[in-house]
C-alpha cells in the first residue's frame, strides 16, 4: 500500500534520499515536499562557481520541475513548515497548507551563524548559504567597492575569491591566527594566505569584530559603511559577508518535542526519537557529531532510503572526511586528523620554489591525516590510505612522494586505483562507484573527464575525485587518454571553448586584442579558427558594447553572400515563412536578367537562390532587390536561416493552427542575431508534419490544443529527430519559449556547435529548467534576446547597397590592366 512520505526541506540530502528511494521502490511512497525556498533542488556545493561567474544557476540545478512531475512528487515551493503535530501526524506550513504523513523526514539543513555584534542587522550584511545570498552578493558586486568577509574558513574564502573575481576589493578577517584552521595546519594556512594575498585579497588574522558601522543616516537609509575591529582598526565595507559557520536548524524538531542536542538526535538509521520521523543532512546530530560536507550527508541519504524501502544494510558511521577549496587555481586538500600528539609521527615535504607543501600524520604505521597545498594530484590515493587504514610500513620511505613511488621497484602510479574493487566509491558527492565509471567509459566510448561527468555525474560536484576519474580513464583507455585533453579551441591556445566563454565573462574581456593578451594567446593575431569564434563570443556576451570585427569574420558573413567555388557569390533574399508574391518574383526575375545571373534555384528552406553573382555586382543586385522590399536572407551566416512552413489552417483540410502565420511571425521576430552555428526552424500545421519540423534546430508542430515545441533535430552530417521541449497554448508562448531557448543557446553554445550538439553536451535537464520550468529565468533570457536584437535587426544588404558600409569590399583598389595596352 502506498505510504504518505512528507519531507520538510528540499536540499541535497533529501534530494539524494528520494532519488535512491525511487530507484529501489518506485511508487511505494506518495511524496510531498515543503521547500522554504521558492525553487527546486540545486547543488549548494557549487554556489562558489556561480558567485565567481564560472557556472550559471541552471548548471547547478540537480532536479528540475520535470523530475518532481515524473516521480509524482508534490513540491510546495516557498512554503515553510511551522509546526509538526505528531499526535495527528500532520505538518502545517506558514500559509496554512497542511499535509498528513505516515513517515516524516526532517531535512531543515542549517542556518548561518551571525556573530552578535552591533550593526549585524544593517542593510548590506549578508550570509552565504543559498542562491539568494549569491544573488544579493552579485547585485552588490555590480556596484564595485569594498567587501569584507568575516570568517576565513572554506565558505568565507570561496566567497572572498568570488567577490574578487567580480571586481570588488576584498578583505577577509579571521579570528584565528591561520586560515581554515579546522582543515589545515599552520604551515598550509600560511601558504594559503600568501596565495590569496598574491591575488589581491587582503587577509587580516587574529582579528575580532567589535561592531559594524553604519553610513550617515542623513544620507538615506543606513547601511554598512565599515567593519571595526577590537583593536580599533576600521575597514571600509560596502558589503559584509558573514561566513563564520553554520548551526543545525533543529527548531522545528525541538518544538515538536523530538530529542535534540546541537542538532536533531538520530540513530545510525537516521531515525529520530519518534519512530515515524527521520532526519537527514546538516540538521541532524549523530553520536555528538554534526556534518556540513556533502559526502557524509549523501551517505546518510542512502542509509535513510534503504531504511524507508525496508532494505536496511550497514548503518551510518562517522568517517574521515576530505576537504577541497573550490577556488580556481588554488590547489588545497585536507583529510582526516592532523593534530599533533605524542603517539603520532609526521612526514613533511616542502618545495618552496614550487609552492608545494605536503604533510602526512601517521599513527601506528597508518596514515590518519593528510594536508596538501600546491599539488594535490595524489590526494585521492592518500585519502584512500586513510579510509582503508592501510599499513604503510613497507612503503614509508617513499610514501610522501605519492603512489608513483609506492611498492618499491614496480612503481605503478595506478596500482592503487587498479586494485580498487568495482563497488569502491570514487565520487562521494554523487555516490558513483568505480564499476559504473569504468563501464560508462568503455560502453559509451568516453575520452575525457567532462564526458565522464556528463554521463555518470562523477567529479561533477566538488571535483575532489577528478584525479581518480582521470586515473580510471588512463586505466581504461591506456595511452589513448590524454589527461590534458580539454580540447583546445585551436593551436593558438590551450583553452577550450567553454573556458574561453567563461573567462570572457569572469574577466570582463571586451575586445579580441585584450582577450588574446589576458588569456595568453600563443600566436600574434590568432587564426582563422579562433578569430571568428572569439568575435562571436564577444558579440553575444556584450551586445551593444562590442564592435563587430569584420576582419575576424569568414568571407560570407563579411560580404553577406555565399562564396562559390569560382569566387562568385550566391544571393538568397528572405521570404518570410517561405511566402512570396508575384511582385517579389518579378523583381527576382528582373535582377537575374539584368545582371546575367547564370542560375536560379529553389533551396531546401523554401527560398530562391541566385547563383553566380560577381562580387562587384553585389551592391547593385541588393539595391534592386531592396527596391522590391526584399532583404537579406542570411543564407550565409551563423544566424537564423529560414522558417519553413506548411499552409496550415488557411488552406489545408487537416491544419489545426495558422502554421504559415506563426512561421512568418517567428521569422520576423528572430532574424538578425548571430548564433553559434546556423539555426533553421519549421512550423507544421498538424502532426503530418509537411514542413519537416522534426529535423530542425527548432520545430513547432501545431495540434488542436496548441503547439508542441521541439528542438535539437538535424538532417545534415548527422540525422536526428527532434526532442519535445514543451507544449504551449498560444502563439505568444511559442515566441517567448523559442526566443528564450535560442538565447540560452547563444549564451552557452560553442562556436560552430549546432543546437543538437549543445543539447548533448549540457543535457536536457538544465535547458528545460531554464527555458520551461522557471518563468523568471525564461523571461530574463527573453529580455536578453530582445536586447541583443536591438543591435541586430537592420538589413545588411541595404547598408551596403547604399555604399555607406564596407564600400572597399566590392571594388578593386586599383586597375593596372592598362599596362598591357601600354606595351
Amino acid at each position: 500500500m502506498t505510504q504518505k512520505l512528507v519531507v520538510v526541506g528540499n536540499g541535497m540530502a533529501p534530494g539524494r534520499a528520494l532519488e535512491r528511494l525511487f530507484e529501489m521502490v518506485p511508487g511505494a511512497f506518495d511524496v510531498t515536499i515543503f521547500n522554504a525556498e521558492p525553487r527546486t533542488n540545486y547543488d549548494r556545493i557549487l554556489l562558489s562557481p556561480v558567485l565567481s561567474g564560472e557556472k550559471s544557476y541552471e548548471e547547478i540545478v540537480i532536479h528540475g520541475d520535470a523530475w518532481y512531475r515524473q516521480n509524482g512528487v508534490t513540491l510546495h515551493k516557498g512554503r515553510k513548515v511551522v509546526k509538526i503535530d505528531r499526535a495527528s501526524k500532520t505538518v502545517i506550513a506558514e500559509d496554512g497548507t497542511q499535509a498528513d504523513y505516515d513517515k516524516l523526514l526532517i531535512a531543515t539543513g542549517s542556518v548561518p551563524f551571525v556573530i552578535p555584534v552591533p550593526g549585524n542587522d544593517l542593510a548590506g550584511v549578508l550570509t552565504y548559504r543559498d542562491i539568494d545570498d549569491v544573488n544579493a552578493m552579485l547585485i552588490a558586486a555590480e556596484q564595485g567597492g569594498h567587501a569584507v568577509v568575516i570568517g576565513g574558513g572554506l565558505l568565507g574564502l570561496e566567497a572572498a575569491a568570488g567577490l574578487k573575481a567580480r571586481g570588488m576589493e576584498v578583505t577577509v578577517i579571521h579570528l584565528m591566527p591561520t586560515l581554515m584552521e579546522r582543515q589545515l595546519d599552520a604551515a598550509a594556512g600560511q601558504l594559503l594566505k600568501r596565495e590569496l594575498e598574491s591575488r589581491g585579497i587582503k587577509v587580516v588574522t587574529e582579528a575580532s569584530t567589535r561592531q559594524i558601522a553604519a553610513t550617515d543616516p542623513c544620507l538615506g537609509p543606513p547601511r554598512v559603511a565599515a567593519v571595526e575591529l577590537q583593536d580599533g582598526t576600521s575597514i571600509k565595507a560596502d558589503i559584509v559577508v558573514m561566513a563564520v559557520g553554520i548551526r543545525p536548524n533543529a527548531v522545528l524538531a525541538k518544538d515538536a518535542g523530538l530529542a535534540t542536542g546541537r542538532g536533531i538526535l538520530v540513530n545510525d538509521r537516521m531515525r529520530t526519537s519518534d519512530t515515524d520521523i527521520y532526519g537527514v543532512g546538516e540538521c541532524v546530530e549523530f553520536e555528538g557529531n554534526v556534518y556540513g560536507l556533502v559526502a557524509p550527508l549523501y551517505e546518510q541519504a542512502s542509509i535513510l532510503a534503504r531504511e524507508l524501502a525496508g532494505a536496511p544494510g550497514a548503518g551510518f558511521v562517522d568517517k574521515a572526511l576530505a576537504t577541497k577549496l573550490k577556488v580556481t587555481g588554488v590547489d588545497l586538500f585536507s583529510a582526516g586528523d592532523f593534530a599533533d600528539g605524542d603517539d603520532r609521527e609526521e612526514i613533511v615535504l616542502r618545495d618552496a620554489a614550487r609552492g608545494v607543501y605536503r604533510r602526512l600524520v601517521l599513527k601506528d604505521d597508518k596514515v590518519i591525516g593528510a594536508v596538501m597545498f600546491g599539488d594535490t594530484s595524489d590526494s585521492g590515493w592518500f585519502f584512500q590510505l586513510i579510509k582503508d587504514s592501510v599499513d604503510i610500513a613497507g612503503m614509508r620511505e617513499t610514501l610522501i612522494f605519492g603512489p608513483a613511488y609506492a611498492g618499491g621497484g614496480n612503481a605503478d602510479p595506478f596500482a592503487a586505483v587498479a586494485a580498487l574493487p568495482d563497488e569502491a566509491e570514487i565520487c562521494g558527492c554523487n555516490g558513483v562507484c568505480k564499476g559504473r565509471i569504468v563501464s560508462a567509459i568503455t560502453e559509451k566510448g568516453l575520452t575525457s573527464v567532462d564526458e565522464v561527468r556528463t554521463h555518470t555525474k562523477a567529479s561533477a560536484s566538488c571535483g575532489t575525485c577528478t584525479g581518480l576519474v582521470e586515473q580510471l580513464l588512463t586505466l581504461s583507455l591506456g595511452e589513448a587518454y590524454n589527461p590534458a585533453a580539454v580540447k583546445p579551441m585551436c593551436s593558438c591556445t590551450e583553452l577550450g571553448h567553454a573556458d574561453v566563454r567563461r573567462l570572457v565573462v569572469a574577466k570582463q574581456l571586451k575586445t579580441i586584442p585584450d582577450l588574446m593578451q589576458e588569456l595568453e594567446w600563443k600566436s600574434s593575431g590568432g587564426c582563422a579558427k579562433c578569430r571568428p569564434a572569439l568575435n562571436y563570443y564577444l558579440l553575444s556576451t556584450w551586445p551593444g558594447q562590442y564592435v563587430d570585427d569584420n576582419q575576424s569574420r569568414f568571407v560570407n558573413e563579411r560580404v553577406h553572400a555565399n562564396i562559390q567555388k569560382d569566387g562568385t557569390y550566391s544571393v538568397v533574399p528572405r521570404m518570410w515563412g517561405g511566402v512570396t508574391t508575384p511582385g517579389e518574383l518579378r523583381a527576382i526575375a528582373d535582377v537575374a536578367d539584368k545582371f546575367q545571373i547564370p542560375s536560379v534555384k529553389c533551396t531546401g528552406g523554401q527560398r530562391i537562390d541566385l547563383l553566380g553573382v560577381k562580387k562587384a555586382d553585389l551592391p547593385a543586385v541588393w539595391a534592386d532587390l531592396n527596391a522590391a522590399g526584399l532583404v537579406s536572407g542570411h543564407a550565409y551566416g551563423k544566424a537564423l536561416r529560414t522558417v519553413k512552413t506548411c499552409v496550415g489552417s488557411d488552406w489545408c483540410r487537416f491544419g489545426t493552427q495558422d502554421s504559415t502565420g506563426l512561421g512568418v511571425r517567428l521569422e520576423k521576430f528572430l532574424w538578425g542575431s548571430w548564433t553559434p552555428a546556423k539555426v533553421k526552424l519549421a512550423v507544421s500545421g498538424c502532426p503530418r508534419n509537411c514542413a519537416e519540423a522534426t529535423c530542425k534546430d527548432v520545430g513547432v508542430i501545431c495540434v488542436e490544443s496548441g503547439y508542441e515545441i521541439h528542438f535539437a533535430g538535424a538532417a545534415g552530417l548527422d540525422i536526428k529527430g527532434t526532442v519535445v521541449l514543451c507544449h504551449v497554448k498560444t502563439e505568444d508562448e511559442v515566441i517567448e519559449v523559442t526566443a528564450a531557448l535560442i538565447q540560452l543557446y547563444r549564451e552557452q553554445g560553442h562556436y560552430l556547435e549546432r543546437i543538437y550538439k549543445w543539447l548533448d553536451r549540457v543535457g536536457m535537464e538544465s535547458i528545460k529548467a531554464a527555458v520551461v520550468d522557471d518563468p523568471t529565468r525564461r523571461n530574463a533570457l527573453f529580455e536578453g534576446f530582445m536586447h541583443s536584437q536591438k543591435f541586430s535587426q537592420s538589413d545588411p544588404w541595404a547598408q551596403r547597397a547604399s555604399g555607406s558600409t564596407d564600400s572597399h569590399e566590392f571594388s578593386p583598389i586599383a586597375n593596372l590592366t592598362y599596362m598591357e595596352a601600354a606595351q
Binding site: I563, G567, H808, I813, N815
Partner: protein, 116 residues
C-alpha cells in the same frame, strides 16, 4: 625589361585596406591581392590559392598568414608557401608604403607577365 626596373606604381593609400584585410589590384595577368597586417606590414600575392584557385584576398588574415576562404589552406604572406601539411606556392610581388601611399613594383609584374 631593364627600363621597367625600380618603377613603383602607386595603387592607393594604406587606409584603403583595412587592417587584417586585403584589396585586389587588377593587372594584365590577373588579380594581385595586397594584404595589410595588424602591424601595418604590406604584402602582395597572386590572388589565387595554389589548391583550387580560391581568392586569397577574401581570406582571414592572421599574423603574416592568410587562410583561403574555400578550403582553409594557410598561405604565408612572406613566402607565398602553403603552411602545415599542405603543399603549394603562390607568386609574391614587391610592395612598399611611401608616405602613406602603397606602391607595387612594375618590373615584377612585367617579368611575371613575360614568364606567363
Amino acid at each position: 625589361m631593364t627600363a621597367m626596373e625600380n618603377v613603383w606604381l602607386d595603387i592607393g593609400t594604406i587606409d584603403d585596406i583595412p587592417r587584417q584585410g586585403a584589396r585586389v589590384v587588377k593587372t594584365p595577368m590577373g588579380c594581385i591581392a595586397v594584404f595589410r597586417t595588424a602591424s601595418d606590414d604590406l604584402f602582395a600575392l597572386n590572388d589565387r590559392c595554389p589548391h583550387k584557385g580560391g581568392p586569397l584576398s577574401e581570406g582571414i588574415v592572421h599574423g603574416t598568414s592568410v587562410t583561403c576562404p574555400l578550403h582553409n589552406f594557410v598561405i604565408s604572406l612572406e613566402t607565398g608557401l602553403a603552411q602545415g601539411a599542405d603543399k603549394g606556392e603562390v607568386a609574391t610581388f614587391p610592395v612598399r608604403c611611401q608616405a602613406g601611399r602603397i606602391q607595387l613594383e612594375a618590373s615584377q609584374l612585367a617579368r611575371s607577365k613575360d614568364a606567363a
